[in-house]
């Protein structure tokens, strides 16, 4: 199964929010939808969930227009919130029933998830008696209880302690293993890097980068070397402007072309006391800053 957004256009009044947004997310894999605040992530998700109508474009499942009666979607919104004054089990059943479950199977599934997330003791409590992290776990149940085909998690890890984050990771990994389409939206790049096989980066309503994360990293211009040495001053003096100091104290040498790699490596190892030299592979964070941050890209 795969989900595809094709040429989605959306504007609010005069303001164009999405321009020709297309991306594809595969079942059994996690997909990361990235972008800075206001880049159009939430709007894309809302269009995908049929909350907002798109001006033009299509949402497809396996190449066919999505049928919202058939395809079940689970959603953890970035803006968390349920009914603070209501009993937890009541509202969980309500949301599950709204998604089309019978009361009996709703109760079964919710009880499973309460156990799974270690929340059984709060079953008959009011939501506002819970801590923020626990409220978030309750909200996660509303996204998963009806066994959705597509799971959309917007900033799922924010506000969770490391133990709960680990628990959520396990849950998400199991969802992926079940062949579901898991769509992540987050600013915490380390989690995206850990889970997502493919990503799309939105910038001002335009998809500026889309594809397999490993491939993206591999296709990145291999024109920089990371060097760790006992004599950084000598190396810097030698390479002058091409050599900069990276954040972790290692040296970064920019090559004039990727083909220069071998000769520069030889030159380094033969002339200096080198601990390590390797081709620079960007982290997702580097890629994100480069594509989503305007200033960096123009420079």
């Amino acid at each position: 199964m795969y989900l595809e957004l094709k040429n989605i256009e959306k504007s609010f009044g005069e303001k164009k929010v999405l321009t020709g947004v297309s991306f594809r997310a595969e079942g059994g894999k996690a997909f990361g939808l990235l972008g800075r605040n206001g880049a159009g992530k939430t709007t894309s998700i809302r269009i995908l969930m049929n909350v907002l109508p798109a001006n033009s474009g299509e949402v497809l499942i396996d190449g066919k227009p999505i049928d919202y009666k058939e395809t079940k979607i689970g959603y953890l919104p970035e803006e968390r919130g349920l009914y603070p004054k209501k009993i937890i089990i009541d509202q969980l059943i309500y949301f599950a029933e709204l998604k089309g479950m019978s009361r009996k199977s709703a109760v079964q599934s919710i009880d499973y998830w309460l156990v799974r997330l270690g929340m059984t003791e709060y079953r008959n409590k009011r939501l506002d008696t819970l801590s923020k992290g626990n409220q978030q776990k309750i909200q996660l149940i509303t996204a998963l209880a009806h066994d959705p085909d597509i799971v959309i998690l917007d900033e799922p890890f924010s506000g969770l302690d490391p133990v709960n984050a680990m628990l959520l990771k396990d849950v998400v990994k199991k969802q992926i293993a079940q062949g579901k389409i898991v769509l992540f939206s987050s600013h915490q790049m380390s989690y995206i890097e850990e889970f997502c096989d493919s990503i799309a980066i939105l910038n001002k309503g335009v998809v500026v980068l889309h594809g397999d994360l490993h491939q993206i990293k591999r296709d990145y211009p291999r024109d920089r070397l990371v060097v760790r040495t006992q004599t950084p001053e000598e190396v810097r003096a030698d390479f002058k402007d091409a050599c900069t100091i990276a954040e972790d104290g290692s040296l970064m040498i920019r090559l004039s072309s990727p083909e220069e790699k071998k000769s520069v490596m030889t030159r380094l190892t033969e002339n200096y006391d080198i601990d390590e030299v390797k081709v620079f592979e960007p982290s997702l964070n580097d890629i994100f800053v480069e594509y989503a941050g305007d200033a960096t890209k123009e420079a």
Partner: protein, 414 residues
């Protein structure tokens, strides 16, 4: 449809688990029970008192001072004119009489200077005090009688002429406004209270969901039309159940105590509502409730903070209060079928109260009723669909409260 049922059930449960809702309903039922059982309790207590043989005159005292020669006919005529008072003739001076009234020995006093002038003394002059008018009428009768006697007619004949009794009978071929006034008033007032209270509740309910961000999830789980109709119909049902509980218990307690209420015209007229009027009441109540609740819900969805609700709903509340006052003014003026009422009874926002009042207190041709109800049904459905659209747009707008222009634009586009 299943979604709608789920929402309706959930929202209805909210009312029946709400302590304030239950509390108010129970309180009103108990209050009505207390009122309805009151005459019965009074009879029981009074029954005990009469056994002791003490009977105190409960009537207020009136002093009258006049020329001693006139004392007898004056006393006779004043006693007849003021059946609610014990009339005593007095020879006291003006100061003493004033003191007696001031200290409550007598409730009021008349000092007659001659045949044609008097002074009325009373402690606190009530808004409805008619004694002076009655006294001048009585005095003019004394004057007429004296004139007749002086003209040669015997005192007996003169008294017969003066005190002639006229029998009159009124046959109302349409409706008696006096009889219908009380129950119409009560029904209009119930309609007014329930729509205002529940309308505000719907608006607050929607705004709470929005401000607690439960909306983010709701809007992705259910259709806005199901949400809007589920919510509004649930509150309509809750309101209806509350009204039925209150009026039903009133009717039940009245019937239990009917014998003790005796010939109380007001109470009797309240409980003698014609059944077809109850059906009209139900129709106009449901439609009027829905049309306002939809508007309140739509407005609630445009507020981004709960505090904004009060100002946002003001135009709707104003509209409704004006509609209410047009009806109440027309009712108390006695001119039910005035031109404003006729116009209002076809405007969907005012017709639930205006048309209902006209049906209750006057005779309205059936086709006017049919047209009014048809307009109301169509507008209610229209407002319902429109409000669901506003709701869908409004709930996702955060930050500053959107202007009316923005909402219209957004609804038009969606």
């Amino acid at each position: 449809m299943k979604q709608f049922a789920t929402i309706l059930k959930f929202e209805l449960k909210y009312f029946f688990k709400n302590k304030v809702f239950i509390g108010i309903t129970v309180f009103l039922v108990v209050l009505i029970a207390a009122v309805m059982f009151f005459p019965r309790l009074v009879t029981v207590v009074e029954g005990d008192e009469s056994d002791t043989g003490i009977e105190l005159s409960s009537r207020p005292i009136m002093f009258v001072k006049t020329d001693p020669a006139q004392a007898d006919p004056v006393k006779e005529i004043f006693s007849a004119s003021f059946p609610d008072y014990d009339v005593y003739m007095t020879d006291d001076g003006t100061d003493e009489i004033e003191n007696a009234v001031l200290h409550g020995v007598a409730e009021c006093a008349f000092i007659l200077k001659d045949d044609t002038s008097f002074t009325y003394y009373v402690n606190n002059l009530s808004l409805y005090d008619m004694n002076a008018q009655i006294a001048s009428e009585a005095l003019s009768r004394v004057y007429q009688m004296n004139a007749m006697i002086n003209g040669g007619i015997s005192a007996q004949d003169a008294a017969g002429i003066i005190n002639i009794q006229i029998d009159g009978e009124t046959v109302s071929l349409g409706k008696s406004q006096f009889q219908n006034f009380f129950y119409t008033y009560i029904m209009i007032f119930a309609l007014y209270m329930v729509i205002l209270l529940y309308g505000q509740m719907v608006a607050t309910n929607v705004a709470t969901e929005k401000s607690s961000r439960a909306m983010e999830l709701l809007i992705t789980s259910a259709k806005p039309t199901s949400m809007m109709f589920g919510k509004v119909l649930a509150s309509c049902l809750a309101g209806l159940i509350q009204l039925i509980a209150i009026f039903g218990s009133a009717l039940l307690f009245y019937n239990l105590n009917k014998a003790y209420w005796g010939e109380n015209i007001i109470i009797e007229s309240i409980f003698n509502i014609p059944p077809e009027l109850l059906i009209y009441m139900l129709v106009f109540f449901i439609l009027g409730f829905l049309i306002y609740a939809f508007m309140y819900g739509a407005v609630g969805s445009t507020a981004s903070k709960l505090e904004d609700i009060n100002t946002s709903v003001m135009p709707i509340t104003m509209l409704f209060i004006i509609a209410f006052f047009v009806v109440i003014m027309s009712m108390s003026s006695g001119e039910i079928d005035n031109i404003i009422m006729k116009v209002c009874s076809f405007i969907p926002f005012t017709s639930p109260m205006s048309m209902f009042t006209r049906i209750a207190m006057s005779t309205v041709p059936w086709y006017e009723i049919a047209i009014s109800i048809a307009i109301l049904i169509l507008s209610t459905v229209g407002i319902g669909v429109l409000s669901a659209k506003i709701y869908r747009t409004g709930v996702l707008m955060y930050g500053t409260t959107p202007t009316v222009k923005n909402i219209i634009k957004a609804v038009w586009k969606s």
